[in-house]
């Protein structure tokens, strides 16, 4: 049954990808890329990767579609036809496709227990997580403590991306001394539409509550800082769509956004430094409490919070940077 669903979803995925390539209307391409991410999320879920599926759905299908639409407001709607170098592109794509197809000959069967990926470090993680960390969700344990360095690197990458966008586009009010009143003057938003406003106001508290649930339930179920940050940012983007940029920026000011971006990463690194000061090694949370397992759990909670804060801050800042450019 899994194979059947997988083939169905992957076929749809290929059709969507061809649609994205063929479409010359960029708006349609953005919408199709959102569908692509949603199909990908369903695929991940079928393969029992609930954490990845949640991330793909929240970031790929949700936030990045909104950000691409925000970018589209700054560019023309139609793709410019470019006929030069098409044969080179076709050659490169064909060669890559052939290489990928060739690589699949060596691939182990789907779900094969003898596959190298299930023989390398995965059994150790599954065995040691209850003893060393004591939380049910092994993915969170791997992400937060066994591979804490990698995750710290990811947060820094997210922070760097956000900083880069802000350097290029600038955050309203953060650069220059504009009045708060004209931050969003002349911007169109859904303020005069009753239905989206009422429904949005009804839903936003629950979206934020769900974000907090995903954040703090990450040790027990699918979820964690990346997903929670994206959902939190989505709730606030919805708010700035229905209430206007100005209102949204008066709740979380540009200065506060930058503080969130940096503060989350700083919290993550700070936990590592505290571990060092308490006599452990960097990001070894065992020293945070008298019982090593409790220490690990506290450490994971703290760094996940840092990840969530940083991701939410970066996504919101990028959204505001795009939205403030307007037409």
């Amino acid at each position: 049954m899994t194979v059947l669903f997988g083939i169905f979803l992957l076929t749809l995925l290929v059709i969507t990808a061809i649609g994205i390539v063929r479409s010359e209307n960029l708006f349609a391409a953005v919408m199709l890329s959102g569908i692509f991410s949603l199909l990908m999320a369903a695929n991940f879920f079928i393969l029992d990767a609930a954490d990845v599926a949640l991330t793909e759905a929240a970031v790929g299908a949700g936030i990045s579609t909104v950000l691409l639409l925000g970018a589209l407001a700054l560019t023309p709607m139609q793709e410019r036809r470019n006929r030069a170098g098409r044969w080179v592109a076709l050659g490169v794509v064909t060669l890559t496709a052939l290489m990928v197809v060739y690589a699949t000959f060596e691939q182990p069967r789907l779900g094969d227990p003898e596959a190298p990926v299930h023989q390398h470090v995965a059994p150790w993680y599954l065995e040691q997580t209850p003893a060393l960390v004591g939380i049910p969700n092994v993915v969170t344990a791997v992400l937060g403590t066994f591979r804490g360095y990698d995750t710290l690197g990811e947060v820094i990458v997210v922070l760097t991306a956000g900083t880069g966008v802000l350097f290029l586009l600038g955050l309203p009010g953060a650069i220059g001394k504009r009045q708060r009143e004209d931050l969003a003057s002349g911007r169109s938003y859904l303020g005069h539409h009753l239905i989206p406003q009422v429904v949005g106001q009804l839903l936003i508290p629950f979206i934020l509550l769900f974000a907090l649930y995903v954040q703090f339930h990450g040790e027990y179920g699918p979820g964690g800082g990346f997903q929670a940050g994206a959902i939190f940012a989505a709730g606030f983007i919805l708010y700035s769509l229905i209430a206007g940029e100005r209102e949204a920026l008066s709740i979380i000011s540009p200065r506060a956004l930058m503080a969130l971006m940096a503060g989350g990463a700083l919290l993550y690194g700070g936990v590592g430094v505290v571990c060092l000061l308490l006599g452990g090694s960097f990001l070894d949370y065992s020293v945070l409490a008298s019982d090593p397992r409790t220490g690990q759990q506290w450490g994971i909670l703290a760094i996940e919070l840092g990840v969530g804060i940083s991701v939410a801050g970066v996504l919101l800042a990028i959204y505001h940077a795009f939205a403030a450019r307007g037409r």
């Binding site: 859904l190 539409h193 239905i195 989206p196 429904v199 949005g200 009804l202 839903l203």
Partner: protein, 108 residues
């Protein structure tokens, strides 16, 4: 007790599937954007609602049922709002409803 619940849930699932199918056919066959949206909204409301109720009957009284009910409530709130936003955006950007039959109507 379980057998008639099972039968009811299959009936609901089949009904939901039928509504999704009808919505899909309508989406392809209808003449203009607004009628197509009307067909697609059938998928959003009746289709998902019937399917969710069918799965809820399968799950019995459990946490899954509560989650499914929450999803159903969420969809009931968001789908009509999305349809409204879409149709409003289409009207604002100048897509007129295809209402030629109005002109061809005999004078009363």
């Amino acid at each position: 007790m379980a057998s008639w619940l099972d039968a009811l849930s299959y009936l609901l699932l089949l009904g939901g599937g039928a509504f999704v199918l009808i919505g899909g056919i309508g989406l392809l066959r209808m003449p203009d954007l607004y009628t197509r949206m009307h067909a697609a909204s059938l998928t959003d409301t009746m289709g998902t609602l019937l399917v969710l109720t069918g799965i809820m009957l399968q799950a019995g009284i459990s946490l899954a049922t509560i989650k499914l009910a929450a999803i159903g409530l969420f969809l009931l709130l968001t789908s009509p709002t999305a349809t409204y936003a879409l149709s409003n955006a289409a009207l604002m950007s100048g897509v007129r409803p295809n209402a030629q039959w109005l002109d061809r109507r005999p004078e009363p």
